[in-house]
Amino acid sequence: MSINTEKNSYTIIFAVVMVLVVGSMLAFTASSLRSKIDENKRMEKQQNILYAMGVNGNESTGDITFVGTNEVADVFSKYIKKQLVIENGIAKEDEKAYLIDIKKEQTKAKNGGTRRLPLFVGEKDGETFYIAPIRGKGLWDAIWGFVSLDKDMVVRGTFFDHAGETPGLGANIKQRYFMDDFYGERLLTDAGVFKGISVAKGNNDPKNEIKDDYEVDALAGATITGDGVSAMIKNDLKLYLPYFKTLK
């Protein structure tokens, strides 16, 4: 090769060209795939909401199985009877409630704005489920989920997910055995005060048979992720308390 790669001018030109080429490659990939990715995310959200209310392909044991992507839109409109947006204590129906970005709403609340709270009302086998999205911080990145409640704020199902928790440790919040532990746990005391559910170490109830202790068994090696789950349940679900009081 006859190019003198040591010259400063060459280095600068190379850097500029490289940045332009790589930048446009990335921009092209991102924009040409955007619609497909967005659709995948929308379907994922619907699958997660349905999963939390118990509409899924789960066997009695084994892994998490969602409703198939080919039918999720139909199943979603069949089981989800109402989509509500609660703002300033007033609940309004909104068919696009599932598209609300919780992260943006949290930032809005932090900056002094009013937060819109989406709530999905589902019906299955004659039972009504109220499914609320929650979002918080894990050890490395965001964690989020959907909690399905009955009208007394007793948990009827959960779904948790994460952006970058450690595989084998914090990432296990995505495992079925962890989510299943929440089933039947209560959020309110007998007096109707909001207490939340803690992911607790050493609660001496690994089979999770005690359902009124406001605790589920923690994951080994995932203290901070577990604390994040407790915190997002407490902080986000608490906001729905006024609405649940109106159901009584």
């Binding site: 280095t11 190379f14 084998g168």
Partner: protein, 214 residues
């Protein structure tokens, strides 16, 4: 002779044992301790690195004569980051389930020093075919150690392999748990990955004295 000459074969087999990236060159330690609490994650990471290092080495090797030496590290970093992000985007669009499994590994792949190490030490000085083989060999050597560490950590830490219980049920006290065996939660902690890697290094060097530095 076929497709691979003797030298080519050595490029693949050397990193598996006597020139292993983790136990001999001590590269890629951070990802080795981060994701080896489970066998499945170890395997996925191994495959992902195989893919990125194989292709990345070829790209860098093709560009080796035009990369200005002053900014070569930055160029290497851009190549690997762009490669990983494009693969991630394509997976998100066409294989969404798979992309969710891989999402946590994206950052770990980009910052994996085995990748930078091989670009710098091999691909910048050798042709594309040789670089490709070197990439495959080193990624396999990396994957082998990850799988060994993942195997012991998951087995002793959680009593499972690939998420399937193999020692009985720890809560119901069946299998070996019925005679008082307990899972060692410490195995799930990152320091144990380093201790297991240390044990592998010890065994390897005691079997092959040539590997011991003065």
């Amino acid at each position: 002779m076929g497709l691979l000459s003797k030298k080519d074969v050595k490029l693949i087999t050397d990193p598996l044992a006597d020139n292993n990236p983790i136990t001999i060159q001590v590269l890629g330690i951070c990802s080795a301790l981060a994701i080896t609490a489970e066998l499945k994650a170890s395997l996925v990471m191994g495959i992902a690195v195989l893919f990125v290092l194989g292709i990345g080495n070829v790209v860098i090797s093709l560009m080796r004569n035009i990369i200005p030496s002053k900014i070569r590290i930055i160029v290497q970093l851009i190549v690997v980051a762009a490669l990983v992000i494009i693969v991630d985007q394509v997976l998100k669009a066409f294989a969404f389930e798979l992309s969710k499994t891989l999402s946590v590994f994206i950052g770990l792949i980009i910052t994996n020093c085995i990748i930078m190490g091989r670009f710098e030490a091999f691909a910048l000085a050798n042709g594309p075919w040789k670089s490709f083989l070197d990439g495959i060999g080193n990624a396999l050597g990396y994957a082998v150690i990850l799988v060994i560490v993942g195997f012991f950590r998951e087995l002793l830490g959680s009593g499972t392999l690939f998420g399937i219980p193999v020692l009985g049920d720890a809560i119901e006290k069946t299998g070996v748990y019925s005679i008082g065996y307990e899972n060692n939660g410490f195995m799930l902690m990152p320091p144990m990955a380093l201790i297991v890697v240390g044990l592998i290094i010890w065994i390897q060097r005691s079997r092959n004295q040539d590997l011991i530095e003065d």
